[in-house]
Each structure stands twice: as C-alpha cells, then as structure tokens.
C-alpha cells in the first residue's frame, strides 16, 4: 500500500542524490561517466567507431530524428533502471557500475536531447528530477534486498511524490497538450512496472518479473513518442506519425530490446544465475516479435526463415557465454565459428528480402560488429570487468537502434515498391444518384 505524501516530508531524501552527486565529483576517479572527458560522452551522440556506412546516424539530426532517439533512450532507461534494481536485489558486486551507467550516460544523454528538442530551461528542470526518481528506485530495491518494510514504505512514498512531480512537469512543458492526469498516469505506470518487476524478482518469481520487464520497456519507449507528440511543434509531431517514422521507431524498439535481452541472458549464463531460464523465455518473446514484424513486411515464409536464423544467433551467443563461464576455449571457438556462418546467412537473407537494397557485405559487417560487441560483453562480465561490460552493453543497444533505422528504411522502400497503385475501383454506379448526394 502506498503512503500519502506529507508536505515537505521527502525533502531530506530528495537531497540524497544531489549530495551524492556532489560528493561523487569530489572523489578522484569516481566521477560519473557523463562528467568525464569526451571519450565517454553519451553514446547517442557518438559515431560507432567500427560501424559500417549502412547505419551511420544523420549528420544533422532533425527534430523527429531526435524524438525517436529520445524514445530509444527512455526504453534504455527502463532496462538500466530494472537491471540496477535487480543487481541490488541479487547483491552483485557490480551494482555500482550499473548505477553509474543508469544514472550517468543515459540520463545525461536524455537531458541533452531534451535541451535540443524542448529547450534548455526544460532540460535544466528535467535532469535533476529524473536522477532523483532513479535514486528512489534504487532505494526501493535496497529496501527489498534488506527485507526492510519501513524503508520500502518510505521509498514508495517518495516515488509517489516524484510520480506526481514528474507528471506535472511533463504536463506543464506541453502547455496543455498533454493533460495532467494522463501525464501522471504515464509516470505512475512507468514506476509501477519497475517496482513490480523488482517485487517479483525479489520473490524469485522470474517469469512475472521478466514479463513486467518487457512491458516496462515497451511502455517507457512509447512514452517517448507520447511526450514528443505533446511537446514538439505540430509539424514535427505529424512527421512522427508517418509510416516510415513509425517503422523506424518500432523496429528500433524491437532490435534495441534484442541487444538488451541477449546481454541479460548471457549475464545470467556467465554468472550462473537462477533467472537464466526465465531470461531465455524473455528473449524468445522478442525473437517471436521480430519474426512477426518480418511476417508483416515479407510474409510468413520469410518470418520462419528469419526466426530460424535469429534463433541460431541467440543460441550461439549463449553457447559462447556458457563456454566462457566454464573456461572451455574449444566451445568458445566453436560458437564463434557458428556465429560467423550465421552472420553470412542472415546478411544474404536480408539482402534478398530487400531486393538488394541492403548490401550483403555491409550487412555482414554490421552483424559481425553486433556479435563482436556481445561477445566482448560476455568476456568482460566473466572477467569481472564490469565497467567495460556496462559500457559495451550501452553501446550495443545504441548500435542496434541505429542499425534498425537503416533496416526500416530498406524494408519500407522494398514494401513500398510493390504496393497497389492508385485507388480501388469498388463501384459500378448503380446507386450513383444516392452516393453523389452524400
């Protein structure tokens, strides 16, 4: 049960993140990623160093471009926040790095984007408020881990306050286009997904936790579109409703989620965590959704072919992580070799499906890069190099989101080329006297 907030009651707790942030900056070598040098600038603004030319982001992003990046960052926030809470519940020794990733890069990148999209005053208010809600989520997970009912109630009460404040902030920023009640409801739902998945995770009900994890990701990703529609000028909001932009956003959601879920599964494999089986079901859900998307674009036969290739890809990544955990170099090499073959076959499949709109060579390079990053993530995790693991995870998510845009454009063009031409001749004139009067 949630406590009603008492006016002024949460101020001292709200000071916690600010105090911590201030103290963090005083500690040598512990500054959050966002405050480090250019080498750790938010990934959303980086050109992937080894990325093939097929999926470079536009040099000067338009407002709709920034808006779909905002969606991706919000989705990533949901994943990072849930991972942070789970890490805290498990008592992992890498939870500080998780916190750094969640609190640093993602929030800074979102704040920067909000500044570009909606203006600096909005960004200046957003950043601290967003950080505060993450700290409260962290406190909630800590209370769950410690079985501290009183602390849990406190965290809930704080979260209720932040839900209302964040909702009101978004409603005010929209200047009436986003009703206060709708804004609050959206934030309440976001926080609810995160706290409920943490509750289930702490109770070792991993299937429920993972169902909420995916639900939370999708809701928070889509919240980006709701906010963009409410806060952007009408022309830009209309652009986001166009089919090509919808497809870019929707494929980005599925493919970026794939990266996050593979990493969750290989993390569970490397650490031999009890949530491994449920995590496997979670990525299977994502693979089915991707196959359904392929079905919509290219038909059921293509969907089955894609699902088989994609399923092989995930299985080999898990096989590599399992071999890494067991120190089995032969099996590692075997998985790597299998992945190389899958990259070639998947590239050929996509090249064919898109009528050669996507080059096989470039696709293969992009898929190889994706696999290399995921292998590096598993290696880093197994070596307990958590900072690298989280950096790679962050970049892999962004990399897949960028690749999704290229795919969406090629898929959209392929389908557009074969759509019916003109209108439909669905009348013979027998009722023209009536129809013409309408």
């Amino acid at each position: 049960m949630r406590h009603m907030p008492i006016p002024g009651h949460g101020r001292i707790w709200r000071a916690l993140p600010l105090l911590c942030a201030g103290l963090l900056l005083l500690l040598p070598g512990t500054a959050p990623a966002a405050h480090r040098g250019p080498s750790t600038a938010p990934a959303a603004h980086q050109e992937p160093s080894a990325a093939p030319a097929t999926h470079r982001a536009p040099a000067t992003p338009s407002a709709p471009d920034l808006a779909i990046q905002f969606e991706a960052l919000l989705g990533q926030h949901s994943v990072l926040a849930a991972d942070l809470m789970r890490s805290r519940i498990r008592g992992d020794d890498d939870f500080v790095q998780s916190a750094n990733a969640a609190l640093g890069k993602n929030t800074t990148a979102m704040t920067t984007l909000i500044g570009q999209l909606f203006g600096k005053p909005t960004a200046d208010k957003f950043g601290p408020m967003w950080s505060q809600h993450i700290v409260e989520l962290f406190a909630y997970a800590g209370a769950l881990a410690a079985h501290d009912a009183e602390a849990l109630d406190d965290a809930r009460a704080e979260l209720v306050e932040y839900e209302q404040e964040l909702g009101d902030f978004f409603a005010d920023a929209s200047k009436g286009r986003l009703p206060r009640s709708a804004a609050r409801a959206a934030v309440v739902q976001h926080v609810g997904h995160l706290t409920e998945q943490a509750d289930a995770y702490a109770a070792k009900d991993y299937p429920t936790a993972d169902s909420l994890y995916r639900m939370g990701y999708r809701h928070t990703y889509d919240l980006g579109l709701t906010l963009a529609n409410a806060l952007l000028p009408t022309g830009d909001a209309d652009t986001l409703k166009q089919p090509l932009w919808r497809l870019r956003s929707q494929l980005g959601k599925l493919l970026a989620e794939h990266a996050a879920l593979v990493e969750d599964l290989t993390r569970a494999a490397v650490t031999r965590s009890p949530d491994f089986a449920a995590s496997g079901q979670m990525i299977n859900g994502n693979t089915r959704d991707l196959a359904a998307a392929v079905d919509s674009l290219f038909g059921p036969a293509a969907a089955r072919q894609f699902q088989a290739l994609w399923g092989d890809h995930v299985e080999q990544l898990v096989a590599y992580a399992t071999a890494t955990a067991g120190g089995d170099q032969a099996k590692q090499a075997q998985a790597k070799a299998a992945l190389a073959g899958i990259e070639t076959r998947t590239a050929a499949f996509l090249n064919g499906a898109t009528g050669r709109r996507m080059s096989s060579a470039e696709l293969e390079a992009a898929l190889q890069q994706h696999d290399l990053m995921l292998l590096k993530h598993a290696d880093a995790y197994a070596a307990k190099d958590y900072a690298t693991a989280h950096d790679v995870a962050y970049d892999t998510y962004q990399e897949m989101f960028d690749l999704a845009r290229t795919m969406a454009d090629a898929f959209g063009a392929t389908v557009a080329a074969r759509l019916p031409k003109g209108g439909a001749q669905t009348g013979y004139g027998g009722m023209a006297a009536v129809v013409e009067q309408r």
Binding site: L16, I89, R90, L247, A291, K421
Partner: protein
C-alpha cells in the same frame, strides 16, 4: 520512517556509497543476509540448455467481416493485384475482399479490406461505410476461429488520383485495419467513381 531518523540514515547511506566508490565492498555484498536471495543455482550443464523458439504461429487469414452498426456480415475473399498494378476488387458486390499481399487482420501492420459501394443495379456491401462513426465496431473472423476486433477511428473521402497509398498500405507494425470503397461523383464516361472512402480502424 520518522523524520528525526532520516538525517542519520541519510548520512549512513552517503557513507556507504562513498565507501563503495572508494573501493570498499558495498554493504549489500558484505552482508549476504541482506542482499542475495538464497536460491538453487543450476548446474553448468543446465545453464547450457537454452534453446531458441523454433515455432512461428502465423495469424490466420480473414474469412468473415462483420460491422453490426452497418448491417454488414459477409464472407471475405482474397485479393491480389491487377496487371496495371492497381488492387483487384471483389468479384461480387455483396462480398468483401482482403488484400492478401499485406498483413492479415490483427497481425502487426495495416490490413486492408475492400468492398463495393454498389453494383450496376443496386447497393454493394459498403454502401453505408461513409456513415460509420468513430467508435464503430468492426469484427473480422479468421480461419482458425479467432476474432480480431477493431474500432473505426476516422473516415476520409479522397480523390482516387491522390489516393494516400502511404497511409493505407505502407508498412508500420501497428495492427490496424483499413476498409475501402468508392464515393463522390460518378464519372459516367469511365464508369467509375472519382473518390474512395476509407475507414481507418485500430484494435478495440
């Protein structure tokens, strides 16, 4: 937590965080009883048993269209393309047709169902489509016995020469439905209506 207790707790939390960041073990790690739940850890063999989903269940094809508010209850036939690249139309004016090269109703993407507004002598199945209001329910029965239900969100009348192909057919992953028929003035020289009436519908 009472307010008097929060100051010390806050200070303690900050100290813990500082200790962690300075390289010390986090409290959660040093006190297992407060952190990691005790659970049976699967063996490495069990860890390696992940299998990707290999079955893909397609959404079944539409077989019947029902719009109670418009007294529409019809079989659904498949439609492809004509030689000139335009969409084929139902063979009978009292039967609806589904564009089979696009999504099936209820799967991600825009499914398109056509119906005639009239025949040479009388009304067709979509004679009253223009009267549909936002909120009108559309049900599509599928071959496997399942039903996809939609609500009409808006009706538009557009000249055929400026048919919004993008908005009707172009791929997104939103599981929508479009109903299309004819409307506007009748071009007697060409024997066809000049406009199309389009109902846009979303999942109910």
């Amino acid at each position: 937590m009472p307010s008097y207790a929060r100051g010390p707790v806050l200070a303690a939390l900050v100290l813990i965080l500082l200790a962690v960041l300075a390289g010390g073990p986090p409290a959660a790690v040093s006190a297992p009883a407060l952190s990691a739940p005790v659970a049976k850890v699967p063996s490495p063999e069990q860890q390696g048993t992940f299998r990707s989903a290999r079955t893909y269940d397609t959404v079944a094809e539409p077989v019947r269209l029902r719009i109670p508010a418009l007294d529409v209850d019809s079989k659904v036939q498949r439609l492809g393309l004509q030689r000139d690249g335009s969409i084929a139309v139902p063979a009978r004016t009292d039967v609806a047709g589904w564009y089979e090269n696009g999504p099936r109703p209820g799967q991600p993407g825009p499914a398109v169902i056509l119906g005639h507004v009239d025949s040479h002598t009388g009304p067709g199945i979509f004679i009253d489509l223009y009267r549909a209001k936002a909120g009108t329910t559309v049900r599509v029965d599928r071959a496997d016995g399942s039903v996809a239900t939609f609500k009409i969100t808006r009706i538009a009348r557009v000249p055929k020469v400026r048919f919004p192909t993008d908005l009707v057919y172009a791929p997104t992953l939103d599981p929508t439905l479009r109903l299309v028929t004819c409307g506007g003035s009748f071009d007697r020289a060409r024997g066809s209506y000049r406009d199309n009436v389009i109902a846009f519908a979303s999942p109910a």
